[in-house]
Each structure stands twice: as C-alpha cells, then as structure tokens.
C-alpha cells in the first residue's frame, strides 16, 4: 500500500495545540470588548459579582466534561442541583438552623449529588440505557424529588453561610477560592490515569476493552463526578440566593453542554478536557454580558444569545471534525 505510506508525516504540531485555545482566545477578546463597553469591568466589585454569577455553571461544566469525555451525556445536572439545593437548605433547618448545622447540610447535599450521579451511572453503564434519554428521565425524577422535599421556594440559610460565600477569605473573594480549587482539581485529574482511561473509553470502546480497562466502572465514576460537581454548583447557588428553590438550575443542562463543547471537548467523546470547559462557561457568561452592555434592546438579548450559542456549537462541531 504505497499510497498510504506517502501520506503526510505525523502531524504532531496539531496535537500540541491545546483544545481550549480557541475558547481562551475568544474569552480574552470578549473581556476586552466588555471592558471597552463597560469601563468599570476590572473594578473589584464588578469582577466579584460577575464571578459569582458565572461560578455555578462553571462547576457543572467541569462535571459534565468527565461524562462527555467518556462518550456519554448528563441532562439531569440541573435537577441534581435543584435537589441538592433544597436538601441542603432543609437539612440545615432541621439540624437547628444555626452555624453549626451548616457543615451537616453541605455534606448531606454533596452526598445526595453523588448518589444521583451514581444512579445515572448504574442505569447507563450497567443497565445500558441510552444516556440522553435516561438522564432526561432521571432529571424528571430528581426534580420531582426536589419538589417533594420543598414544594415552594423558601427557607433561608444561616447568615454565616451566605456571608462567607459573598465575602473574602484571606483577602481573596470566596468565589475566587472556589474557582481556583476547581482549576486545581482539574489539573489534578489531568495527571491521574483515570482521565486517560475515560478518554480511551470515549474514543474507542473496542480498543479500551482490549487494553483491559474496566469500562463500566470508569463510566460510572464519571457520572458520580458529574453529580458531585452539580452538588458543588448547588451549594454555590445556595450561597448566592440564601434560600431553597426546587426550580433552581433549570438552564444548567444546556448551559453546561454548550460550555463543554465551546471549550473544545468533542460530544462524541474521547477528546477534550475540563480546562476548556471552564473557559467555555466563562465565555458563555461573557457573551451575555457583552450583549447586555452592547445596548441591544432588551427583547433582542435572548434571541441574539441563543443564535450566538447555536452558531458557536455548530462551529465547535465543525472545528472538531477537521
């Protein structure tokens, strides 16, 4: 097969470019545009409030990345966040509603998040249900449970919770600490073999099997991680709203998938990383900001944002296919 051997030499230059580069570049461009439209953009207050707004989606996007890298998808993240939110708030109230009950609430919330993820993982990797529709279904169930726990928005959390969340720790905003922790976790995972195995499962199921990877378990773990990060997002939302709301987080599913795709992770699995998803989530937030400050009439904002996201998704799929 001489024709094959004369094909181009290894195109290693392509692989050395990180997948998140496009998202990062676009993010920088949008920050500059935003700065131009809103000169106060770099003020501490403005940055702080922007970050608070973007943080929940960023965390969910990190979790979603793991699921998508394994070739699956999780549509239930928003419902998990809602369930964790109401469970946390309710548990804190039941435990006395004082500062001491906060850690119990946080922990219970995270456990619920992980359990939701494990439930998804069991259905999909062991019972082999189709991931999109299965998480669509579990999402309905998690929402229903959230409504059962708390039929209407209400119950406030102790002051110490939301004060700490909106305040500074060691001179750095709490939300920035959380973002940094998220970054560090992503870097940590990048160096662990798990992520490599997950990408192998998402990239070529047969090859992963022949290499002896326990595929079902790897996929289950990815869903559990996604549940955990949806839980973290819920705790942030709770810090932001200071109360429970069973309908919170409804846009997180589509938002997180968009963020992951914008960050350069392929929806078909096997390629990408959560660094890109962090940039993708921030990018989505900045798109909203720029549209707002561009002076577009209010009623056009949803449409333009929807169009930009759809175009970016199509572009992302096209670029990834090259």
């Amino acid at each position: 097969m001489k024709s094959i051997l004369s094909a181009p030499k290894s195109g290693s230059t392509v692989s050395k470019r990180p997948v998140w580069l496009v998202a990062f570049g676009s993010l920088v461009a949008l920050v500059l545009i935003n700065w131009f439209l809103q000169p106060s953009f770099f003020d501490g207050m403005v940055m702080h409030s922007n970050l608070t707004t973007f943080l929940p989606l960023t965390l969910v996007a990190i979790g979603q990345t793991f699921v998508i890298m394994g070739g699956d998808i999780d549509l239930s993240v928003g419902s998990i966040a809602a369930l964790v939110n109401v469970v946390t708030v309710t548990v804190i109230a039941m435990a006395g509603g004082d500062a001491a009950s906060v850690p119990i609430g946080l922990l219970t919330g995270l456990v619920v998040g992980v359990l939701c993820g494990v439930f998804n993982g069991l259905l999909i990797s062991y019972l082999r249900l189709q991931p999109m529709v299965a998480t669509f279904g579990t999402g309905i169930i998690f929402s229903a449970l959230a409504l059962w726990v708390m039929p209407q928005a209400g119950l406030s959390v102790p002051e110490v919770y939301w004060m700490t969340y909106s305040d500074f720790v060691l001179g750095v905003p709490t939300v920035l600490w959380i973002l940094i922790a998220g970054f560090l976790f992503v870097l940590f995972m990048q160096r662990r073999p798990f992520e490599s195995h997950l990408k192998a499962v998402g990239g070529n199921r047969a090859g992963a099997f022949q290499s002896g990877i326990n595929m079902s378990f790897v996929r289950l773990l990815s869903f559990a991680l996604c549940g955990l990060f949806s839980g973290f997002a819920a705790l942030c939302l709770t810090g932001e709203t200071a109360s429970g709301d069973p309908l919170i987080g409804q846009s997180l599913a589509m938002g997180s998938i968009s963020a992951v795709v914008l960050g350069g992770t392929m929806l078909s699995g096997g390629v990408g990383g959560a660094i890109g998803s962090i940039f993708g989530a921030l990018l989505l937030g900045m798109i909203g900001n720029v549209i707002f400050f561009a002076g577009l009439p209010f009623e056009f904002q949803t449409l333009v944002q929807g169009l930009i996201v759809l175009a970016a998704l199509a572009g992302g799929v096209l670029v990834a296919r090259k």
Partner: protein, 498 residues
C-alpha cells in the same frame, strides 16, 4: 526444561461450527514459531484462545509446564502473554505514549502519571525502530495523525511495553514497508536471544522463511504438520496447507471475440486499492482471491459507490461511469450483496416484505409501495431461490441465517441487475443454502449477468468462477485461469509467491 507454551487437544465450537478441532502447538523459549494455514483454518481462533480472548471448548494450555485457564485477555497478560491485535487496539485521538502505556501508566508517589518516565520509556521503545523511521514518530503525536505503518509500529511497541515472555504477532507486518519489516525482524531476533518466544502469523511466506525457526501448519481447524523451517521448502509448506490439490471443474470457455466486457476497470485506485484492472464479460463469474482483507471487499464496495475511488476509470457497457454513491450504482443496475448481513443488509425488526422490497423501491423510484402488486412479484423471486418463510409479514429475524441471506439476494434479483457484486456472500450459512445460492448465481450468469465474486473460501472460488484475480495488499498480483485454476496456485499466489 519445559516448553514456553504447550497446547494440547484444543477445540473450539461456535454454536454448531467447529472452528478448531485439533489444536496442537509447542513453542520453545526463545523461538520464533510460524503458524500457517489458509483462510479460516483456525489459526486465529487458536491464537485468541492462547491470548485469553476466547475460552476453549476443550483442551489444555500449558505455560512453562503449568496448566492455565484464562478468563480474560488481562489474565493472559499477567502470565506474560501479549497479543498483537491485527485490527489494532489503539485509541486514535490519544497520543502515542498514552496509547502504549494505556492502563499501565507509570505513576509517581502521589499517583500521578509519571510523564517523564513514560516519555523516556516510549522513546526507548520507539528507538528499536530508529533505523527504519528515524524519529518520525513523536511520543506526543496523535495516533490518528500517523500512517498505517506507523500505527502498526506503535501497536508493536504497545506489545513489547508489557515485557512479555510470549508474543503472538498476528499479521504484524501487514502495513509495514520493506525497511520497517527488516528492522522489525532484527527486533524479533534480538528478543529471541533474550528468551522471548514469538508466534508469528503472516500472509507473506518469504517472511516466514526468513525469520522463523519452526512452523505449525493448520488445515480445516486441525494441525496437520509441524516442521523445522530449515528442513522444508515453500512448495512443501503450500502443499501441506492445501492438502489434496483441488482442481476447478472444467468449464466451457467463453468465446472471447464475441463477448465485449460488461464491466471494465482500468487502474482503479484509492487509499486501500492500488491500480486494479479487471474486466468481466456478460455471463462470466470472476473470482477475487487471496487472503482476507487484501482489498477484495474494498474493491466491491468501491464499485458500488460505498467507498471512494480516487483514480482510474470504470466502464459499464462501454460507457465510462462515475459511481459516487450507492444510489448511482442501483440506477445503473449494479447490485451488491454483502456477507456481513447484520450490519450491511438486514433491516432488523422489519418484515420480510420490507426487507425484500428495499432495493426495488429505490431502483424503480416508486412513490407508492403498491404492496398488492409487489408482493406476488417478490414472492416469485424468493421462491425461485427456495427461500423458506411462513408469511411475508413475519419479521426478518424469524428466518435462519441462510434464508435471510437468500432474502437479501432476492431483494436485488427483483431489480433485474446487470452486474452483481458478491462480497463473501456465504459467510456463516449452511451447505444446502450455499449450493442453492451458487446454482442461482450460475443461472444468472448464463442469462447474461456479469458477476464479481469474493469468497474467503477457496473452494467456492474454484468451484464457481471462470477466472480468479488474486489480491495482495490492495493490488491484483496475478490472474488465474484454465490449468492454473487449482488450490495450489491460488494459495501460492495469495502468499505472494506468484
């Protein structure tokens, strides 16, 4: 001292098919041992049992004199056995180094992947091929960006990264060029000195004679001979693989002057085909021979428009044609029957009628099905073929494999094709159905249809074809006809000994 690996009385049955009836093998430590045989002789089954991918039906496998039973490839790997996967076990969108060490990544104290160590070890492994490729393969390059030859080298490195004591190289040289093969053989010899045993499977006999110490020869699921390479010749080996030389039945020669070719290929090429020229006259059955995967299926699919043709010309009825998609072929009355019924032909869950009607709806560009008129027409075609079914409305899955295949062929007969491309059409169907099928194909040919037939079974080609074009590496290496149409010449040509 006991042998590195001993296999005794090994058998393997898939459902009712006996893939292996008498598997025997003894490989000494530090030996390169060839496993030879025609398509479907059981060599692949035997090696997959040894590598833990299949469970044997009966028999024993001994490693270093100890009996073992593997539950998975991983068990075999832990005993020091590594298999080179012919279809490659690489993840395309991952780097070379990540692929080589997948699931066995070197780790540092905190459980992180030790990238520095992985890089060094990858470079060490790749350095084995330095003379052939220099430093063309970067450890951080994506496997997807590599050429097939380079990928094969990476898969070889993946095998050796496991530090195996027994290696099975199943067609490991298929995509390597001459220089790469030379270097690969140097590696095999070096490993032999280190005491590694290699089971070597290749479709190139010259390679076997160059590198191997012993050979085990298989035929029809059983081991027929074991010999030292130094004491035999290629002629003898081919005779052992073939058994009694089977002659093609005498057939009336077509008078060449009167018949203009119906289908003619000139220098057809693509990324998997190399300068294929062929012609088929009406009434002729031309066979495509050779070992599996040498481009026969690719050619048939390309002619049908399902795979691209990048160079050369195709003539149909003296008219140059460009067939870019299957619909083009269907409209030009070309039919394609695949032996892979499951993925290529079956509409699972649909009725026999729908499965039968699929092609004629396209070829006649019907808007309405008009089942009342179509049903008797299709029933007639199916019955001409002795297809057994209860009702047209039954699901296709209620039929046996052979009857399903008859339906998928009848689907095309209903369109009155001029050219029929048969891609190993009898895969997995019983003898009676095979006989029906070939009788029908002959009848079609006699009515003026041109037939191209690829079969993985030599006897089918010899029994049914007027001529046989033998493929090797995507090219036609020789064309057999007349007196040369026997199993000896066919096998010899397939192994590149034209």
């Amino acid at each position: 001292m006991s042998s590195a690996i001993t296999v005794r009385d090994l058998t393997k049955r898939f459902d009712k098919v006996h893939a292996l009836t008498d598997g025997r093998l003894t490989v000494e430590r530090g030996e390169i041992h060839a496993l030879l045989g025609a398509n479907g002789c059981g060599k692949s089954t035997l090696s997959k049992i040894v590598a833990g991918a299949y469970a044997p039906t009966s028999g024993t496998v001994l490693i270093d004199g100890k009996e073992v039973s593997f539950r998975s490839p991983r068990d075999a790997e832990e005993m020091g056995i590594a298999l080179f996967y012919q279809e490659l076990s690489l993840i395309p969108k991952m780097s070379v180094e990540a692929n080589i060490f997948l699931r066995r990544e070197p780790r540092n104290g905190v459980g992180f992947i030790d990238y520095a160590k992985m890089r060094t070890e990858t470079l060490n492994l790749l350095a084995m091929f330095k003379d052939a490729i220099g430093d063309d393969i970067q450890p951080d390059a994506l496997v997807a960006d590599l050429t097939p030859g380079q990928r094969q080298i990476v898969e070889i490195c993946k095998v050796y990264a496991k530090n195996p004591s027994i290696v099975i190289m199943d067609e490991a040289t298929a995509a390597l060029d001459g220089r790469q093969v030379k270097v690969f053989f140097d590696i095999l010899r070096k490993k032999r000195e280190e005491g590694v045993s290699t089971i070597f499977i290749s479709h190139r006999l010259d390679e076997v004679f160059e590198i191997c110490d012993h050979a085990t020869i298989m035929r029809n699921g059983a081991v027929v001979a074991e010999t030292a390479i130094a004491e035999t010749t290629t002629e003898d080996v081919v005779h052992m693989m073939v058994g009694d030389v089977k002659k093609a039945p005498k057939r009336q020669a077509l008078d060449d002057e009167g018949k203009k070719p119906l289908l003619k290929l000139e220098g057809v090429g693509s990324n998997l085909l190399n300068d294929v020229s062929l012609s088929v006259a009406p009434g002729e059955i031309v066979g495509l021979g050779g070992l599996q995967g040498q481009g026969q299926s690719t050619l048939l699919r390309s002619l049908f428009g399902a795979l691209p043709i990048t160079s050369g010309t195709v003539w149909l009825n003296n008219e140059q044609v460009a067939i870019r998609k299957p619909a083009d072929a269907v409209r030009r009355k070309v039919a394609y029957v695949s032996g892979d019924r499951g993925p290529d032909a079956a509409l699972p869950g649909r009725s026999i009628f729908e499965n039968l009607a699929a092609a004629i709806l396209v070829s006649e560009k019907r808007k309405l099905v008009r089942a009342k008129e179509l049903r008797p027409q299709l029933a007639e075609v199916a019955s001409a073929f002795k297809t057994k079914y209860a009702r047209m409305t039954d699901a296709i899955g209620t039929l046996s494999g052979g009857n399903q295949q008859k339906i998928f062929i009848a689907r095309w007969l209903a369109t009155n094709p001029k050219v029929i491309l048969l891609d190993d059409p009898t895969k997995g169907i019983d003898l009676a159905a095979k006989a029906d099928l070939f009788a029908l194909i002959r009848k079609l040919a006699e009515s003026g249809v041109a037939v191209l037939l690829y079969s993985s079974e030599e006897s089918e080609l010899l029994d049914n074809c007027d001529r046989i074009a033998v493929f090797n590496d995507g090219a036609v290496v020789t064309e057999l006809s007349g007196a040369e149409m026997d199993s000896f010449h066919l096998t010899r040509a397939a192994y590149g000994e034209a």
